[in-house]
Amino acid sequence: MGVGDPVGMEVAHVSASGMGGMRTAGDLVARMQISRSMKIKEAKEYVANKLGISVQDIADPIVMGELRQDLNIGTVAPFVGGARGIEAKLRIAELLGIEINCVNKFRDKVK
């Protein structure tokens, strides 16, 4: 997506056709696209399988909000003691079975 008024562009686009990032499993599906060049159908099925829920539910903010909290993989409104940022990404790498560049670098730093 490109330049534009966030209200007329980003909000409208995301509301019309977006997964919603951390509100759902959008970031997890995106990770499969960028780490393995998976097309959307394959990426969604991969993530749904890893999460043990249906493909439709991975785009549901209520289902995913609870699941993200249970799995401690980062939520829009972080709970006390919950994983944030790089901590959440450490868990996401393990959950999806993928390499995340900044996670690898973080691990190297804290060895």
Partner: protein, 350 residues
């Protein structure tokens, strides 16, 4: 007969009859099919588009299950300098995109959003990126444009092809472009390496081909080098327009002449070079209706998706792929283009 309220490509409202809307859709797809030598949309697809564009609802959306991934370019300074003058630091804006705007993939970049100026301040950008990666969860790219125009005199070291061409100095203009490409490839590899070493998930090459075929070639070569250096590095290629301008006219990649390529041919070369995500761009015609523009853009993008082996994220920012060319694009027009593009082309993201 009841009129249908829709929009022109500049966002202004217009009322069309049913037959006028149908004619616009048919002419839009025909224009794209003839230019790119691809199949026009089917009668069923045109009927679907008619339903979307004649729907009286202010806002429309995809069916449950058809949601796609959203990546961004120019996503970390849009509020501050570009538009609203809200004094947000780039990392803060990335966090706003992550938490408030539902971004699936974030993008960090600097105000000029070109590789050349980033080279001089790469360490500061790396510092911002490293901090951003600690505090965000969704994937993060570093983004910039090849912008080969920035390498011409008086701002850059190379003769300006745009001054040489009108003088009939074709060979000199081509030589200048080839020199620009060498500089640009070095800068893209330098910046890309720095950002990947700092932890970025990948690099976003934005507005590729803006300076023509040599701009596209420079990007493909940079991707090739970076992919050899960092096999796991994700690389997103977002184009500048629907076909590659032949400013040089003779350059090739993998034996294919770059000038005049449409999205379904562009993506094959991007894949060959090592791109991870491809973003076709189809410019809007402000004198035509949004329906005409959407039918035309969807025809190009559908052909691109059909031959793709990597995810396709269409560029649907202001003035592209059926989105009006206006500072505040009306949500009725954006939501219609968004839904129609996703559900007809079955692409992977926007």
């Amino acid at each position: 007969m009841q009129k249908i309220y829709t929009r022109m490509g500049d966002g202004s409202g217009v009322e069309l009859s049913e037959s006028e809307l149908k004619r616009d859709l048919e002419e839009g797809t025909k224009d794209a099919a003839e230019r790119a030598k691809v199949s026009p949309l089917s009668q069923d697809e045109l009927a679907y588009l008619f339903d979307v564009y004649s729907d009286p609802a202010r806002f429309v959306g995809v069916d449950h299950g058809n949601e796609v991934i959203f990546s961004y370019d120019n996503g970390s300074y849009k509020s501050k300098e570009d538009l609203t003058e809200i004094p947000l630091y780039g990392v803060q804006e990335a966090q706003v995109y992550e938490k408030f705007l539902g971004a699936d993939i974030l993008d960090l970049g600097q105000i000029d959003y070109s590789f050349k100026p980033v080279k001089a301040i790469a360490t500061f950008e790396q510092q911002a990126l490293e901090y951003a990666l600690l505090v965000t969860t969704v994937p993060m790219f570093y983004g910039a444009q090849p912008n080969l125009g920035s390498y011409t005199q008086p701002d850059g070291p190379c003769a300006n092809p745009m001054e040489l061409l009108p003088q009939g100095k074709i060979a000199e203009a081509r030589a200048a472009q080839e020199e620009m490409m060498e500089h640009a490839v070095r800068d893209m590899v330098y910046v890309g390496s720095a950002m990947y070493e700092s932890g970025a998930d990948g690099l976003n090459f934005d507005t590729v081909g803006a300076a023509g075929d040599i701009d596209f070639l420079a990007t493909l070569r940079a991707i090739e080098i970076l992919k050899k250096k960092y096999p796991q590095m994700a690389m997103m290629v977002g184009m500048a327009g629907e076909f590659v301008l032949g400013m040089h006219g003779e350059v090739t990649y993998d034996g294919v002449r770059l000038a005049g390529l449409y999205p379904h041919k562009q993506i094959a070369l991007a894949e060959k070079a090592g791109a991870t995500i491809f973003g076709p761009a189809v410019n809007i015609n402000t004198d035509k209706s949004c329906a005409w523009n959407a039918a035309r853009a969807i025809t190009f993008v559908k052909a691109c998706v059909e031959v793709s082996h990597i995810p396709v994220h269409a560029n649907m920012g202001m003035g592209l792929c059926g989105i009006p060319m206006a500072d505040c694009p009306p949500v009725d027009a954006v939501s219609r283009a968004s839904k129609a593009m996703v559900e007809i082309t079955r692409l992977d993201g926007l």
